[in-house]
Structure formats: C-alpha cells, structure tokens
C-alpha cells in the first residue's frame, strides 16, 4: 500500500512554521480525506492540518510542542492505490527510509525538516500568482514599456503557480491596442507612482463622528476665517505633539520618529492632488496659520508652490467633504504613516439626554487611515478620539 505524506500546509500568508498542539487521530486510526488530523498553533491562531486522503494514519513523525516549517512532513497516511490514483498523487514514500531513520537517530535532523517546494517543477515563490513574481525577461520587457506590476493586476497568469509569463504579457499588451488610449498627465503618473508605493503597506482606516457646531460658530466669528480642514490639521498637530511615535515610520525593526510636526493638507489641482505643508503646526496657533493656509491653497491651485512648502510632512489632512462625501478611506503618502480625512458636515438628529429628545446637530466624520505595521486600531482610535476632543474647544486651537 502506498504511503502519502502529511505536509504542514501554508496556513496563512506570513506563516512560516507552526507548533504541534495535539494529534486528533491516534496512529493506526482510520481517516477520511480532509478530516482534521493535527492541531497546530501559529503566532496568530490555532488551526488544524487535514488529512490529504482517505486511509489509515501510519505514523506521526512530528513531535508534540515542536515547530515545523510549512512544507515539512509530519507523518504518513497509508492509502489504497485507488485513492492515490484518484487524487492524482505520484509521490509515494516508502514506509521506512533507512537514510531518514539514520539521520534522525544520529540527531542531525532533530525533527526539523527542510521546507519542501510546494510547486512541482522549477521553483517559483509560493505567492507567484499574477504579477507578484516577474521573470528577468518579463521585468525587462515591463521596464522597456515603463510598466509596473500594478499595471498587470488584470492579467491572470498561465505559468507555474499562476505567474504571468512573457507570453501572457504580450497577449495582454496586444489586447490593449483595441481600446481607445489617451496619455496620462505627468501629475497623474506622479500620483499613481506615490499611491502604488504606498499600497505596498497594510493600510487600514478608522472613523469617528464629531459635532461641528462649535467649530462652525468659532469659524463664523473669526477673521480671516480658517477652513474647516485647518481645525482638523491643528488638532492633529497638537495630538501628535503629545505623542509623535504614532506618526513614525517603520523601517526594519526601528520606528523612525518625526523630527518636527510638519503637517500637509491635500489640495485638488487639475488632474491630481498637491500637498502643501505647514511647518511646526504644533507650535503655531490656528489664528497664526490661517493666512498662510489660505495662501498655500491658492498657490497650490495655481501649481506654484514654493519648494519650502512641499515635502517633508509627517502626516496629511484631506477634506473629502468638499466633494459631498461623508466617508472615505484615503491612502497616506508613501513616506507617511497617517492621513486624517474629514467628511461633509450634515445636520443629523442627536439624542439629547438632558432634554430627553432629539436635537439637530451638525456632524461630520473624521477618518484616520494608517499603516497597520506602525499602529493598531486601538492606537489609531485613541489618536482620533483625541483629535475629536480638541475640536470641541476650537478657541484652544
């Protein structure tokens, strides 16, 4: 009877190994295909390894409480020849490989198996599907045409592990020629490049409703009038001055802290977005920066921003409410960890506990998109709550 190895499966994208918690079927016991065999634990969760086929558990070679790499052999199932044929498996290991026995006796292997390639044939990374793995030739061809992997998102690969082959690529390029094409502006290409680079990170967004009545009243009484986004910008700057680590960037195993609280704000210009910067926004009052803010908005719209007013900011504020949107998940600039968004204000009913009735309030959502490698939902939520609190007292901003 042929023996089928029980292989540690790929349990999650970043999981390289898992620890054996318990064996759910005793050696010698019968198993069905896909029946849970072994309970394993990773950094993230407890999971199970299922039987590759119907048969009988011949033995477990894995040890309890030991960790094994993805692809490692954990034991064997004795299966019938028909079952093997049905599964289309052609790897039948002999029951006792004298060499393996020898190795484990001499302690060289000490239970840790080498990672086995999961794809038959020539090696490709396990996550090669689509354009995430590029052969040298494909890469050269894409460079020639100025394309990026993201441009091939719509191409299903026909190569090993679903990779996009040069042939797939050429077919795709030829297929594009049937469509109407127009050139993308320099600004569009620059934004695309920034977004693509930013998207290499795990980004998440949280949201919080805030009441804007006090802000709007304060604004009405001010001269010059600060834009609504400026209140949010100033509140963000104060919150970051209390704890700047959340705006830090993760590089390797280090958090790079910001050296000054320079905050940018998004201004829509023709066919793109510009981000002028207010330097040391934590050290200047709202009143102080209002005129500068208005100037920068004008300069940005004319695309005449001075060099000292662009770049180097540690976070950005974007007022997507100007488009009538109440919610969005903006993407932070690639060199930043945070982007604070502001939705459109709406008059909504608010339950007033004291009055025992609904009252109309002006409400808008604040959103915070963040690099999840640097901070988690809790820290992002606390930062957003703090911004919300600060905006309740605009006279302090």
């Amino acid at each position: 009877m042929p023996f089928i190895p029980i292989i540690m499966p790929q349990l999650g994208e970043s999981i390289a190994e898992a620890r054996i918690v318990s064996f759910l079927i005793p050696p010698g016991g019968p198993v069905e295909a896909d029946q849970d065999l072994i309970e394993v634990e990773t950094d993230k969760a407890t999971m199970t390894v299922a039987s590759p086929c119907k048969g009988r558990v011949e033995k477990f070679t894995a040890q309890l409480n030991e960790s094994y790499a993805v692809g490692a052999s954990l034991g064997q199932i004795e299966a019938t020849q028909e079952e093997v044929v049905r599964l289309g498996l052609d790897v039948c290991i002999q029951q006792k490989s004298s060499e393996t026995e020898q190795l484990s006796k001499s302690g060289i292997n000490s239970g840790k198996s080498r990672v086995q390639p999961t794809i038959r044939g020539l090696p490709v990374p396990a996550n090669a599907a689509g354009a995430s793995y590029l052969s040298p030739r494909l890469k050269a061809r894409m460079d020639e045409l100025g394309l990026h992997a993201a441009d091939l998102a719509g191409v299903a690969g026909s190569g090993a592990a679903g990779r996009v082959t040069v042939e797939d690529f050429e077919k795709y390029i030829t297929s594009l020629e049937k469509h109407k094409m127009s050139g993308a502006s320099t600004m569009r290409v620059a934004v695309a490049d920034a977004m693509r680079r930013s998207w290499t990170r795990p980004l998440a967004t949280v949201g919080l409703p805030v009441q804007l009545d006090v802000v709007l009243a304060h604004r009405k009484a001010s001269d010059p009038k600060p834009g609504p986004a400026l209140y949010a910008l100033r509140a963000l700057a104060i919150a970051l001055s209390e704890n700047s680590a959340v705006a830090g960037r993760l590089v390797g195993n280090k958090i790079i802290h910001p050296s000054s609280i320079d905050v940018g704000f998004a201004v829509e210009a023709e066919d793109g977005v510009l981000v002028p910067v207010i330097r040391n926004a934590d050290k200047r009052s709202l009143k102080d920066m209002t005129q500068r803010y208005n100037e920068l908005v004008d300069l940005a719209r004319q695309r005449k921003l001075p060099p000292d007013a662009t770049g180097g900011s540690i976070a950005t504020v974007t007022n997507f409410g100007t488009f009538g949107l109440i919610w969005a998940t903006p993407i932070p600039l690639p060199e930043q960890t945070l982007v604070l968004g502001m939705g459109a204000g709406r008059r909504v009913p608010f339950w007033d506990e004291a009055k025992g009735q609904f009252v109309p309030v002006m409400e808008a959502y604040l959103t915070l998109s963040f690099d999840h490698r640097v901070l988690d939902g809790g820290a992002a939520g606390r930062l957003l709550q703090r911004i919300g609190e600060l905006m309740k007292q605009p006279e302090q901003l």
């Binding site: 044939g121 020539l122 090696p123 490709v124 052969s135 040298p136 030739r137 494909l138 890469k139 050269a140 190569g159 090993a160 082959t165 040069v166």
Partner: protein, 322 residues
C-alpha cells in the same frame, strides 16, 4: 548508389585532405593496412603510400611526434582509438600543442581525432565525452559535428586550420547517420546552426545529443510545443551569438551534453546566457548531462546514465510549463 555514413564522411574528408595537401599525413594505432579500429582510414594507406602510418601503442608518443612534425611544417592527423585513451597523451595535447604558438610564435596545425561518446556496453573506458576537458584549454579548437555533412566539411577545415584541433567524432553516429551525398559548402567553423526552428524553448546541444534533441522536439511538437534546437557544431569557439539570438526568441533554455555534469560545455552555455542575456530569460535555464558517476557497462544502467530522448523531453516539459 549506396548511402554515405558519418564514418565514410570522416574517411572521405581525410582522403580529401591527403589529396589536397602533401603536408598532411595520418598517424595512429593500426591506421595503416588495418584501416583503423573503426575503419575510419580504410584503404587510405593503399591510396596514399607512406602517408598513413602505424604508430606504437603510445598516445604520448603519437601526439609528441605530431607536434614535432607540425613545427617542421607538416599537418598531421592523429587518430586515437578511443577518446578515453587520449588522456595518455594529455600532456602533449594541453601542455605542448595548445601552448606552442603562444610560447614560440610557431603554429601547431595538428588534428587529433577522438572517437568519443557512449555506445551500449561501452563501459567506463570506451564511452567518455572529453570535449569539455579539452575546451577548457586555451589554444585548442574543439569540434563536435552532429551530422554527416559536418563530419566531412569540418574535418577538412580542421586539417586546414593552423591551430591544434580536437575533432570529436561520435561513435554512435558512425554508422547511424547516412546521407546521399557529401556537401560542397558548409558554415564556417565557430558558427552554430539552427537545426530546428521553434518559439517556445531553445535546446542547445552538440554531436549525438543534437539527434536526440531533434527527436525529443518532434515528440514535443505532437503536444503543441515548438522547440528550437541549436546545434553548436563547435564547442570551442562557442557561438554565443546564435544561442543568445535563439533565447531572445524563446525566453527559455535547456543545454544538453553527453559529458559529465560538473562544469563543462552546458555550464558554459548557461553561464554566458545568464550573465550576458539575463533579461532574455522567462524561466530558470536548465542543463542536462550524463550522471556524475563513471559510465556503467550494463546497457540498462548506461541508458539511465546518459541524456536520452525521454529525459530531454522531460526536462523540456519542466521548463515549458514554468
């Protein structure tokens, strides 16, 4: 009209050389009245009296004599009974002949004929492929004809070349390849030939492996793959341009050689393509050689030891599916 074999072509080429140039003579064990171990000099001693000469059983002395004669202006052809035995004359070939011109500015126009490659039951001393060892030495030219036409025209050219030439003639091809007539013109030495055109994979081979690669390509064609086969013809000089041009069409490379796998011609082909043509590759280039053990006697073991139509096909499929 009887067909001309690869072996006949070698005999004819030598007759042609003897006829054309009075400086040419053949020297080797039993090449005279006996006509050579494989009959590659059959009747030549009668036709060219005094110019097809039996040597003592000493490869060292044979090559040594040839180098001396070449210095004196002759163009000797040395026949080794088997390529394997040329190692006895190795010192004369690689230390003396190969370096002579570079040391003294005196040319060394000798041609050493090596009947090489495996035949069933040949075993470890009568089957080896030494092109890869000789190609390692600067100063030597190493030719590996895969067809009757090339065996003929390349041997004539080998004798005419002023440098020492190692002429590797495949023993299996001797009687297996036949043509109706010998060619009157040929590609220059150092130029590879596209033996079969295709767009999915390039197989680079030489000598008998070209025939096996062509057969494998034929089988793959029935599966819908179009495989291009490049016949190197000469492993040194190596025609990198033709190989690179082929890989630029196919994006995939398999190099096949009958020699042992450690280093050698197939490794050289892949090294050149990856270092000079990395951006042409859409799959990791692969090579297929004999196994890394001495050559077994038993026909079944021997068949498992050397690359075959089947193993070439399997290696090709692996790359094609990448």
């Amino acid at each position: 009209m009887s067909l001309i074999t690869y072996l006949d072509a070698i005999c004819e080429a030598q007759a042609h050389a003897l006829r054309d140039d009075p400086r040419v003579f053949i020297y080797g064990q039993d090449v005279g009245a006996f006509g050579g171990a494989f009959k590659a000099t059959k009747n030549l001693a009668r036709e060219f009296p005094g110019r097809v000469i039996d040597s003592p059983i000493s490869e060292d002395a044979m090559v040594g004599l040839a180098v001396g004669a070449a210095i004196e202006g002759m163009r000797p052809i040395i026949e080794m009974q088997f390529a394997d035995f040329s190692t006895v004359g190795f010192n004369q070939i690689v230390n003396q002949a190969a370096s002579l011109f570079w040391r003294t500015n005196v040319s060394c126009p000798i041609t050493v004929r090596l009947p090489f490659g495996g035949t069933s039951g040949g075993g470890p001393f009568h089957s080896q492929s030494l092109e890869t060892i000789y190609a390692h030495y600067p100063g030597l030219i190493v030719l590996t004809p895969a067809t009757v036409e090339d065996a003929y025209s390349m041997l004539i050219e080998a004798v005419a070349i002023d440098d020492p030439v190692i002429f590797c003639e495949h023993k299996f091809l001797y009687r297996h390849l036949k043509v109706e007539k010998l060619p009157s013109e040929a590609l220059p030495i150092g130029k590879a030939r596209i033996a079969r055109e295709g767009r999915d994979l390039t197989i680079v081979a030489y000598s008998a492996m070209v025939q096996d690669a062509l057969e494998a390509a034929g089988e793959l064609a029935t599966e819908g793959w179009e495989v291009e086969v490049v016949d190197l013809r000469s492993v040194k000089p190596l025609d990198t341009d033709t190989v690179m041009a082929s890989v630029s069409r196919t994006g995939k490379l398999l190099a096949v050689g009958e020699a042992f796998p450690w280093g050698g011609v197939t490794a050289e082909v892949i090294a050149r393509v990856t270092s000079e043509g990395f951006e042409l590759l859409d799959a990791p280039p692969q090579r297929l050689n004999a196994k890394d053990t001495p050559i077994p006697y038993h026909p079944n073991l021997w068949a498992a030891h050397r690359p075959t139509v089947r193993s070439i096909g399997a290696a090709a499929r692996k790359i094609l599916r990448h």
